[in-house]
Subunit: 237 residues, 2 copies
Amino acid sequence: MNVSAKHSDAASLVSNTIGEITRHIRTHELGPGDRLPSEAELSRQLSVSRTVVREAFSSLAAMRLIDLRAGRRATVAELDYGAMSLVIEHGVHTEQITVQQIYDVRRTIETRTAMLAALRRSADEAERIRDHALAMRENFQRPEQVMEHDLAFHLEIAKAAKNPVFSLIVGAFERVSRQTWPIGWRSRPSDAEQLEMIQIHIDLAESIATGDPQSARDLMARHFDESVKALLTAGIA
Amino acid sequence: MNVSAKHSDAASLVSNTIGEITRHIRTHELGPGDRLPSEAELSRQLSVSRTVVREAFSSLAAMRLIDLRAGRRATVAELDYGAMSLVIEHGVHTEQITVQQIYDVRRTIETRTAMLAALRRSADEAERIRDHALAMRENFQRPEQVMEHDLAFHLEIAKAAKNPVFSLIVGAFERVSRQTWPIGWRSRPSDAEQLEMIQIHIDLAESIATGDPQSARDLMARHFDESVKALLTAGIA
DNA sequence: TATCCTAAACCTGCCATACAGGTTTAGTGG
DNA sequence: CCACTAAACCTGTATGGCAGGTTTAGGATA
């Protein structure tokens, strides 16, 4: 094995290798889908063992910067909120973040996405957003379904805002939302209350479809205000 | 070696192991600093090789959910925006995110943090925020210094907003900001222009110190509007 | 010539083992 | 009771190996 690996800057071999790989992506101007060198080749080029390259790849895959699949070469990944979602979830589970704090951030972000979506959404997006809202009403006896459409509804609005960073952030709350959503739902025990909550979604979809940013903004704000109220009722302190 | 590892659900051994470890953190209600089982022990418990446990640990460390140090047991990590910052940086380098899009998100987030900081900051925080703003003016001949205090200024405001999720998001833009900051600086070639930009920071610090949320909000908004204008002047399309 | 197919080459997932150093701990001597 | 040291433990890295998925070149076929 090559012994010339003494030059390395302080940190561990693995983190240096991570740096080298991201540098490779940057300098070669690789985009999503482009293939990276094989583990063996990187191992040779960087004079480290395949073990180290593997761990570096593994770490990058954990952050969803690259895609790994057996037999295939590693490829540059599309933007993905999976890692960020895990970070947020970790924060909640270790009690470094409260559910309310998340709602405050979501309100801040999503009043903006609602507004932008009203201005920028395509016809298709407007329709998809409305479809999710309507599906919530249709399936309102099946909370599981309602939740899925609710999550998709918010993500679709972020997408319609035409700014992937908003999508990333909204997506980052998905894992936590899946866990707290049922609490909010149960705190609205009557059909009337549940349908009222769903109606806000439908109205919001309508505002986005007709291109009324102010109304979209206000409805999203109201949605979150109501949700926080519901959570407080449920005793989430 | 134990052959009973067939039960595993679809995904790879490593990702299953990651799930098991996060589950361990959750069920044992571990908090920051608490120690996890050793690699060897987890390897035994989960009937996988140490290699797999190592790669799982490595992935979790990449997302900054745990801390790893040679010889020491892995510990649960404090909330850290390192991973999120890499994700954003990756998005920009692979041209999936533009610098403007980031500014739009930052404006959305930071007008809120400025407002909250004005309402919630402690006396210490108010002082630290002001110190950074003043240090920008004092060192304004040394861009490197100005940038560092600028970054710290924004982070400190997020911290004063008393919502760690805001800190996380503001921090997530740090790596990218370090790379784009000089562009904005160079687009303000005269001392007067540079000092004008810095003055906004000082005024903002003052608003937060005196507890004027509306003014803090407006100044932060203006700050971002000016910055975007500067970037456009510099030709960042 | 173009297309389909197959076998070889390549590649990744996972495992076992080994050893150098850093860290913790228990025990020993003062 | 305290300070110190040696042993036990732990992680970082390397090597070699094998099973199985993927790619590809080249030959067979239409």
